[in-house]
């Protein structure tokens, strides 16, 4: 259950998603990806864990939220731009370059020499077609790009022009990174692209669908891939591992080379068993989680009360106990200092440093006129007891565990917490409607800190208690913060952005809309014994867990066999077949899954036979 948590990392929840710094990445065009493949051992079959979300449904529609993941976007369908969260850069992908001709016209150059995996050439027309498909079917436009676009055209085969209805340069990020490009020659004849399951995907990615079953799927190398020589491996086998135990057992046995999930105590188990080749990489770069008071609820609506609570809290045990020591505590000014070191105003950070100080918290409460009642619980001057429901999803085990730490810490100053574990959907509803005293949330993560501040402090996103908010869940209202966010949104100057950021940091630190907790991390556990070239601290070319969009393909086209395992180059995965020994030729299309109907019929027959036996027994009794 715990790996599910990671799915919310790096996610963009807000509708006002504008960040000028998305433009900053434009410069770094070449990355390690374009390096030549001399001296690399090619071939081989790599096995990875597909996480506990199977059995899969045969759905390769890249616009469907329930498409087979991680294959559909990345390994198969690709986007125009690749965002690498590990170093914050935007890189050319299916687009080779982009410029804003003016505030409302974006021109992109489309990569030449790319082929769809059925041999048809990929052109700018495919890009224009894809965007116009989203316009025609708003259900496909899940990132809302048409809320700012007015037209998308392809004046020639290698240029696409995006015309905006209003200046919204930061939407480049959504247009480039979140929209998978589909082939016009296939999708133009699809009658309903919303429900289309696309069981034979034709895409531009480094791999092709080779075999699919609900518990395992195999991708084979796309020999016509546009990056010459890549990918190095011949096959990627993604296996459903419904339980953590199963995933870890397969990692230990050496079957899986890559398991993108959380596991506790890895230093003492996984790394210890082979420190040279076994590693995990959980970099603290995916935003942060925060302890969220309801800012509209008395007495939590008083910033001074929130400051005192911040002094009462110690985030270190939340890291070491609830999060296995993987998630270091973050500063109290609304920014993950590990992710955005250059954006932190150190003066502000030092000024609003709420390092644990129980005595200070207690003196703050008593100077506000709070007293302890006979049960040792704080009371406000007007008699309100400081006892709150702490609503969290009971499936998020690390948060449940953190809640126990917070409960103990706050009890020490006289604040009573009732932990209320609810279903994930109930929790979402409670948070959206403001029906909680305390809760926990994750800051929205994007290519600049703008997203974090916007999701927490932009009161345009919030709503009164009882109405549905789309952001600012704690219901914080501050007009200065709103203006700063608006200015940050409109500027293209990095210097200006830094100024707005440090002002927001100060407001955050002074007002404590929420209490920042620990950094969030992507989870990647690796066994580099046979295959090497995985993302690592020394080679951060991709996130260690790139679930959301582009990224998986970057990893799987970069890994390759170690030379000493060259003998494994020709090992192909066995296509499941009627007989495990017979090999199917790789060119054949994926075999149809088992005929379950036959089994149902057989089973029904068995049951009937049993009933007949019972009947015979009964009849013989009478004779």
């Amino acid at each position: 259950m715990r790996q599910k948590r990671a799915w919310r990392n790096g996610i963009l929840l807000v509708s006002l998603m504008l960040a000028m710094a998305a433009l900053l990445g434009l410069n770094s065009v070449s990355t390690a990806l374009a390096q030549s493949n001399s001296g690399v051992t090619t071939g081989g079959t790599v096995y990875v864990s597909g996480g506990g979300i199977g059995p899969w449904t045969d759905n390769f529609n890249p616009f469907s939220p329930t498409a087979v993941d991680p294959a559909t976007i990345g390994l198969l369908y690709q986007t125009l731009i690749y965002w690498n969260p590990s170093n914050g850069t935007l890189n050319p992908w299916l687009a080779t370059g982009w410029t804003f001709n003016n505030a409302t016209t974006l021109t992109m150059s489309i990569r030449q020499g790319v082929k769809w995996n059925d041999g048809v050439a990929f052109t700018a027309q495919d890009v224009a077609f894809t965007f116009n498909l989203l316009k025609q079917y708003p259900a496909l436009d899940t990132y809302g790009v048409w809320s700012v676009l007015s037209s998308v055209t392809a004046p020639n085969n290698n240029t696409v022009v995006f015309t905006f209805s209003k200046p919204a340069a930061p939407y480049l990020f959504y247009i480039g990174y979140y929209v998978p490009i589909v082939p016009e020659h296939i999708w133009s004849s699809v009658s309903n692209p919303v429900t289309y399951t696309n069981s034979q995907p034709v895409a531009t990615g480094p791999f092709k669908l080779y075999y699919f079953s609900p518990s395992e799927y195999i991708l084979s190398k796309n020999t016509d891939y546009w990056l010459p020589g890549k990918p190095y491996v011949n096959y990627v086998v993604v296996v459903d591992a419904p339980s953590n135990t199963q995933a870890l057992a397969n990692l230990e046995s050496g079957k899986f080379s890559y398991v993108p999930m959380f596991a506790s105590n890895l230093n003492n188990t996984w790394v210890k068993s082979d420190p040279t080749y076994h590693y995990y990489w959980f970099p603290p770069i995916a935003g942060y989680q925060y302890f969220m008071p309801n800012d509209q609820m008395y007495p939590l609506n008083n910033p001074e009360v929130r400051q005192a609570i911040a002094y009462a809290i110690n985030n270190t045990p939340i890291d070491t106990i609830a999060e296995s020591g993987y998630m270091p505590p973050v500063d109290s000014i609304g920014i993950n200092q590990y992710e955005w070191p250059t954006w932190v105003n150190s003066t502000v950070a030092a000024q609003y440093n709420y390092s644990t100080n129980v005595a200070k918290a207690e003196s703050m409460f008593s100077s506000m006129g709070f007293t302890k009642n006979s049960n040792g619980i704080l009371q406000t001057p007007n008699g309100t007891v400081m006892s709150f429901n702490y609503v969290i999803p009971s499936g998020y085990t690390d948060w449940v565990s953190a809640a126990q730490q917070l409960k103990t810490q706050l009890a020490a100053v006289g604040i009573q917490i009732n932990i209320v574990g609810v279903s994930t959907s109930q929790w979402t509803t409670d948070v959206q409607d403001g029906d909680y005293g305390f809760s926990m949330e994750e800051a929205v993560n994007g290519p600049t800190p703008f997203y974090e501040y916007n999701s927490i402090m932009n009161s345009a996103l919030t709503a009164p208690i009882g109405s549905t908010a789309t952001g600012d869940w704690e219901r914080f209202y501050n007009s200065t913060a709103n203006q700063l966010l608006q200015s940050w949104f409109s500027t293209t100057s990095n210097t200006q952005a830094q100024i707005y950021a440090s002002k927001l940091e100060a407001i955050f630190g002074q007002q404590m809309p929420v209490i920042p907790d620990v950094a969030r991390v992507p989870f990647g556990i690796f066994n580099s014994t046979v295959f090497t070239g995985w993302p690592s601290p020394s080679n951060p070319y991709a996130s260690s867990e790139p679930w959301q969009a582009e990224g998986m393909d970057v990893i799987f086209q970069s890994i390759h066999l170690r030379p000493q395992y060259a003998a494994l180059a020709t090992v192909a995965p066995v296509i499941p077949s009627a007989s495990a020994t017979s090999s199917t030729s790789p060119s054949s299309s994926s075999p149809s899954p088992s005929n379950t109907t036959t089994y149902v019929i057989v089973a029904v027959v068995v049951v009937i036979v049993i009933i007949i036996i019972a009947a015979v027994l009964l009849m013989r009794r009478r004779t």
């Binding site: 715990r2 105590n265 106990i321 009971s394 085990t397 449940v400 565990s401 126990q404 209320v420 574990g421």
Partner: protein, 295 residues
Amino acid sequence: MNESGIWLTLSSTKGRVGFGILLALVAIALVSPYVVPSPEKAYGQYLPPSAKHLLGTDYFGYNVLSWVLIGSRVSLLVGFLAGAAITAIALAMAVIAGYFEKTILGELFSAIINVFLVIPALPLLIVIASYIVTQSVYPVIFAIVIISWPYPARILRSQILTLKNREFVLADKGLGLSDFQIIRSDILPSLYSIIFSVFLFGTIGAILTQASLQFLGLGGVSIVSWGSMLYWAQNEEALFSGAWWWFLPPGIMIGLVGVALVLINLSLDEVVNPRLQALKLSKKAKEIQKTFAAS
């Protein structure tokens, strides 16, 4: 077969052992919060069993023995409360469905029992539990009772159906006794041992169900109990890390409660149910043979 029959179980070794274990556990549950160090005090992570921590510490650094002893409170509370409620509801449903078999009400209650019997219990429980707010065990007890009463109700109903046609019941009916009097003085006394047995198994079932629910993360994972210990042990892969001292004790304790109750039930069978008592069949058959030979 009367009330004193239940205390007769103490005359058998099994009964005495069963009651002994149970009393010891109840004593632990009552006394432990005042004696045992707080389960929320953290020591070092995964310390193996030692003189200081008899059962070691868990992933969070908590003393496993504290959790095991204090966790007994929740299991016993859930078990006995749910067991009693299950017995009461099952009995009421069974009397109406069985004794008043021929009335519309009886037919209706029979139909209700039949429908609830075929609804798969654990899946239904999981669906209910996923919607109830679970910082307390009482909603969980309620949900367990909802899914657990039909099977004992069926057993009791079939017993009542047999009983109501027995000579002594028919005779009392002939004497003009009211239905209520007959139920009170004829039916219920004959059912005491079965009712007690239903209570015992209802209790075991409730303890196991509550633990299963917590294991699935649906029964309030922040409650200090054996079920939540197993949940966290599994969640942090305790066995993978070699921390058997975290995983084994809660299961053994749950089993121990069950074993105590099963022992009491076994002794109940021996003492109360004359048909299950040791009859030497061959001895009796020989007597019959003699009778035949004599004639």
